[in-house]
Amino acid sequence: MAERTYRTIQSAILFGLGVFLISKIASGRLIWYIHPRFIPLTILAVVVLLFVGWTVLKEGFKAKRAPATEVSQNPDDLDDEHENHPSAWRLAAVTLPLVVGVLIPAHPLTASAIQSKGINSTVPIATASSSPLTFGQSADTRNILEWEDLFNSGTDPTSFLGQEANVIGFVYHDPHLKTGQFMVGRFALVCCPADAFAVVMVVNWPGSASLPTNQWVKVKGPVQSTVLNGQTLSSIQATSVELVDPPADTYLYP
């Protein structure tokens, strides 16, 4: 294929990827895919993609229409470097993120991912530097991950059992639960959804069966401990369960 066509296709794909990332950043949905600390790197990636795309387009237009048959004496001419162009199929693979991103409606991880990603009930405890923060903060501002950290920290349970929990999360109906129970959960991740794991609290609430999976709820009530399928989990004797909208920052960060 001619140099110019090849370079134009390359540059179109590079621009496409750049625009795709810009749209995710602008809509605030980038954090559905990566940890916020990587956002500057993603912005850098956008800049590089657009710059490389532009350069490639320019260089393509410098090339002669037909592929070179002899070595050019002009070092500015890149034709002599690319006598044999791979076919455009090679370029096609890199369009897959664009195809996936456009065709499949964007979602953060939902309860349905729990089956393959699993629930983590042995989350590492808070490090020494942050422990005053976790244990000193008041019960009603703790999120599900922080409750689990507390449970696994080895702190004397009597110091926090019975405290009033005030957490939000999505509804998940684990098959091992009894009637009148559901799980309220969040996903926590270190880098991206690939390493995400679910943290949950069991909720005792008579209206459990009517709550749809993935619905976001705010649960309040005293905290207890329960054992399910061999794992020790925290549980809430719910005094109220309120339907809420999904929060903007849907993941928790250990």
Binding site: T55, E59, L78, V100, C192
Partner: protein
């Protein structure tokens, strides 16, 4: 032997088939009728998409930096300078060869043609083999990427330290070979950059800074597409596994101290992901597989996988390639199993 510039027709068919298959499933899953019949398909596709895009978006800055680094090496550096730096004796040669990657950041795709160029310019065998094995890991971008995924701790130290150990050992073992020509194939390879003619080696074309800069960028673009394919294939496989496989099924394999190492090493070969981004892909397996298995993936993958094996075969003699695969395999396997046994 096929060149590295064109996929063999059969493997190209497979890649197209996988790609079309994924595309088909995505398209079909969006129809409401299908969603009624297969209610879980929609959520599985959604999970696949989120995990797949997560890996890709995570990895893309590192992939771009890696390709720019590679383009920089190709466009700006004079290979003659390297020759003067590297000792000829086996151990110092192997040691400095393994550290060369810190100055010349190349991904595992770029290291094979670069090593060939260096051998042609007189780089000693021990140094060249050590560079070949170590450069995909001992370079600033991979170290940064690994630290981003696992933190500045034991996993990073293990990856860097053990990779260097294996690279130097392999280089030393190869020092019995006196001349690079003994292990290299005679046939030339076609890459995106044409090898210089003999006239050009004596007086390379004079390029201005801007010309070199443009050349670096275009080479980076070509490498981005070249290597990006494998990142996407690896991300697709990882995301499909995450969306479809129940965790319980894998936990048995994942816990065994020996079998988990073998499975992760096999996965590293099959996924063939670039070393600048493989740390992010393997993060998805951390909760299932043993630490020794994860480490073995991170050490073995950059040295041996489908695409590097194809490249080795186009540059080195078959017997050499066997050693290039076998030695890292044995050492990575041993390291992984020992770590599992020590931790347990």
């Amino acid at each position: 032997m096929q060149t590295s510039g064109h996929a063999q027709p059969r493997s190209r068919m497979w890649i197209i088939a996988i790609w079309l298959g994924v595309l088909l499933i995505i398209l079909v899953s969006q129809f409401p009728r299908i969603q009624q019949i297969l209610p879980t398909l929609g959520s599985k596709v959604s999970t696949f998409a989120t995990v797949f895009l997560g890996i890709f978006i995570e990895a893309i800055p590192f992939l771009l930096l890696g390709t720019l680094g590679s383009g920089f090496v190709e466009a700006f550096l004079d290979q003659n300078q390297i020759q003067q730096l590297i000792p000829r004796r086996a151990l110092p040669g192997a040691l400095s060869g393994s550290l060369l990657g810190l100055i010349f950041p190349v991904c595992e795709c770029g290291v094979v043609p670069l090593t060939r160029r260096l051998f042609n310019k007189g780089l000693p065998v021990a140094a060249g083999i050590a560079f070949l094995m170590a450069a995909p890991v001992l370079n600033p971008i991979v170290i940064l990427a690994t630290a981003s995924a696992f933190g500045w701790g034991w996993m990073l130290a293990g990856r860097v330290g053990l990779s260097m150990l294996i690279a130097v050992t392999t280089g030393l073992l190869f020092s019995v070979v006196k001349r690079p020509a003994e292990i290299m194939r005679m046939a030339g390879i076609k890459t995106n950059s044409r090898m210089p003619t003999s006239e050009e080696q004596i007086s390379p074309p004079r390029r201005s800074f801007r010309q070199k800069f443009n050349r670096m960028t275009v080479i980076a673009a070509d490498e981005f597409f070249e290597m990006g394919r494998f990142l996407i294939l690896g991300a697709t496989l990882a995301a499909v596994m995450q969306a479809l496989l129940p965790q319980q099924a894998l936990l048995q394999i994942g816990r065994g101290p020996v079998i988990s190492v073998l499975v992760m090493m096999a996965l590293a070969v099959v996924l063939s992901i670039c070393s600048t981004v493989d740390a992010f892909v393997v993060l998805g397996f951390v909760s299932i597989f043993s630490p020794g298995a994860i480490l073995a993936f991170l050490i073995f993958g950059p040295m041996v996988d489908i695409k590097t094996t194809l490249m080795y075969l186009s540059v080195f003699k078959k017997r050499t390639v066997v050693y290039l695969i076998l030695l890292p395999f044995l050492m990575s396997f041993l390291a992984g199993v020992l770590i599992n046994l020590v931790i347990a």
